[in-house]
Symmetry: C2
Subunit: 218 residues, 2 copies
């Protein structure tokens, strides 16, 4: 399976949702599920589900359905969640604190090991048991602790420079929350969360729905 698993990112982006649903089913003690049942729960067509899961050799058996635990574990492995990732947060404002306080990440193998900021009022504080350090200490910390993921929740103006440094220090992935596109060496993965893009998309959907409503009225 490891040989031929170039999957499109569109499919990859659907996997966390399967993973979440399957996790919820497991918690409820559900051991097997048909693609039809999963389809109804997730509001995705059964054929989409079968197609998506066939990318990984298909875990279902005709007439039996999917083994929930096995599928959950396998999707977790594909997503790389069987590994543990050491993370730091750069920028401990409201957004950085919100992420630091979230439990849902640590449950999935993402371990927050350090927080960094330039604000002397924040440095020395402890959030969720993790210390806020001066950004001056970041290089040493990243290298000594083998930090793999940096979460960028800092002001936009310093993001590019910081990202480039982090790449040099051996960071494997950046989770970037600022409206800046980062172009980094190939060995550094970047996942952007552009909140304003998401809100604009919502505006589009609302605006389209209004146009449709208008049409129907006439």
């Amino acid at each position: 399976m490891a040989e031929e698993r170039k999957i499109s990112m569109a499919v990859v982006r659907r996997l966390p949702r399967y993973y979440r649903y399957l996790g919820e089913l497991l918690q409820k003690g559900v051991n097997k599920i048909s693609s039809r049942e999963l389809s109804e729960k997730m509001n995705v067509t059964a054929s989409q589900i079968r197609q998506d899961l066939n990318n990984f050799g298909g875990f279902g058996q005709q007439g039996y359905g999917y083994n929930v635990e096995y599928l959950y574990e396998e999707i977790g492995k594909i997503l790389g969640l069987h590994q543990n990732y050491k993370m730091i947060i750069v920028g401990v404002g409201n957004l950085g604190q919100a992420i630091a306080n979230s439990n849902s990440f640590s449950r999935r193998g993402f371990k927050l090991v350090g927080l960094f900021d330039v604000n002397p009022k924040l440095i020395g504080m402890s959030i969720h048991g993790v210390e806020v350090m001066d950004v001056d200490r970041m290089e040493q910390f990243v290298k000594e602790n083998g930090v793999e993921i940096a979460i960028l929740t800092m002001p936009k103006t310093r993001v590019k420079e910081t990202a480039e440094k982090l790449a040099q220090w051996g960071i494997k992935g950046l989770w970037n929350f600022s409206p800046v596109d980062l172009f980094l060496p190939e060995n550094v993965q970047v996942e952007n969360v552009h909140l304003s893009h998401s809100l604009m998309t919502l505006a589009y959907m609302i605006s389209e729905a209004k146009i449709e409503e208008e049409k129907e009225r006439h």
Copy 2:
């Protein structure tokens, strides 16, 4: 143009990025740009850009390029940004506060008019000039002020119930930050921000990059 503009959501989701880049160009005083130049800046193929923008009748002229301001304005209209949206935030924890404090939304016509929480310590406080109110007052507030968008940054357990009520009260769109899929009447648009999905996608990319590196080593 209004007649035939059913665009795929994949294209729609790329529009905010064009919009952001064009806005930056405008600020720099750039008045026209070729698809090739835009392509280099955005790290998207020129043909992708031409295809995307052709969805809207194509704003470019052969050999001249795109008029930046016109394109910016048109994409803004398509996204529905020429309208103003009244928004409330439900759940004023760190994430809710981070959004309340962001300037980038109000610049684009999204006006925050109310904040709601159940925590007596927060009620009465003012964030970015907006008052935090008791959720008990939400129904009246939404109806009286014609609030169109509600941002859900509250604990997961109460999201479904709150979303259903907001839908009844006439909300047009929900921006949902909790890991809960909402199934609401067709006239209510839902945009989900699943942060944990995004982080899992990053884990996938890191994990894939490691596998590739291993392969190259052997």
